[in-house]
């Protein structure tokens, strides 16, 4: 796959058009990140965070969504130093995945399921997993980015605050929408080296 810069949007946009992904392509996240961030100035942490976000969300779609494809689109606005990306699948969705696992019998509704899935170490697969959504949530909260997770009847909007909405109609699958802006003190995980551990 060769991601292309769109020439149909205004020239101040850099975009990766809606693309169907049939597998979690390893090089794709890096290619898309490069397109989106090449004209963004600012800290290197930001580019790495975007790379990480794309990689993790695609991986989650295939690993947990029980789907054989997902869709992704993204764009950046260099003048506003912002990147927006959206990844969507029509798999079983987070609530169904969590309930089916029978690992968390106290879940009352879809909101509980999505909230739980974004905790560290929580996964529908086993106790020894559950990182992607937790780390994305961490980056969003600390950088006042905007992360929206829509799955089943649950919609969570995560930024400095968290807003949880129980919808009347279920979304058939999972959508993750991230809007993230560079900033001088951009936070991306611990800055310790291996030797300092």
């Amino acid at each position: 796959m060769n991601p292309e810069v769109s020439h149909k949007l205004p020239k101040w946009f850099l975009s990766f058009p809606v693309t169907r992904l049939a597998e979690p392509s390893y090089p794709l996240a890096g290619q898309v990140t490069q397109i989106l961030t090449e004209k963004l100035r600012g800290v290197e942490n930001f580019h790495k965070a975007v790379h990480f976000a794309i990689r993790e969300v695609i991986e989650n779609s295939f690993e947990h969504g029980q789907t054989d494809h997902c869709y992704m689109c993204a764009y950046s606005v260099p003048s506003k130093q912002i990147v927006r990306l959206c990844i969507l699948d029509t798999g079983i969705g987070i609530p169904e995945s969590m309930i089916t696992s029978q690992r968390y019998p106290d879940l009352r509704n879809d909101i509980d399921a999505v909230d739980k899935a974004a905790e560290y170490g929580v996964s529908s697969k086993s106790d020894e997993r559950g990182i992607g959504l937790y780390l994305l949530r961490d980056v969003a909260e600390k950088n006042e980015a905007s992360l929206t997770i829509l799955s089943g009847k649950a919609k969570m909007d995560i930024s400095k605050d968290i807003k949880k909405t129980l919808l009347d109609i279920a979304f058939p699958g999972t959508m993750v929408n991230l809007s993230i802006k560079t900033r001088r003190d951009f936070y991306y995980l611990s800055t310790s080296d291996w030797e300092e551990l």
Binding site: F52, R129, W194
Partner: protein
């Protein structure tokens, strides 16, 4: 294991394997543990390629569940690694260690 010995493994040779990144990380974890029975130090050479996968690196961080922290730090080394990948591994290792402490 022979003291003073070291083996260098090329990280990206695993990245083209079939399976999810977490599955690949699990294989790498198994390989490290296996090699530790023969070599004192296992070195992962990333050849300056960015990985940026929390799932894969979390499988490496699981080494801290099985072995003492100082032993893992001493016997596992990374070379030519993107600093942000190193920070991600450290971040995940800290989470694993904190969880291990709570469980103890």
């Amino acid at each position: 294991m022979v003291p003073g010995t070291k083996i260098t493994l090329i990280f990206k040779e695993w990245l083209n394997q079939p399976g999810s990144l977490r599955e690949i990380g699990s294989i790498i974890n198994d390989v490290i543990v296996f090699q530790w029975s023969h070599y004192e130090i296992v070195e992962l050479d990333f050849e300056n390629e960015t990985v940026a996968s929390g799932s894969l690196f979390d499988e490496i961080a699981k080494l801290f569940n099985e072995f003492p922290k100082e032993e893992v730090k001493r016997r596992l080394k990374f070379i030519n690694i993107d600093p942000c990948d190193e920070h991600l591994i450290v971040h995940l290792a800290k989470l694993r260690l904190a969880r291990k402490e709570v469980s103890a």
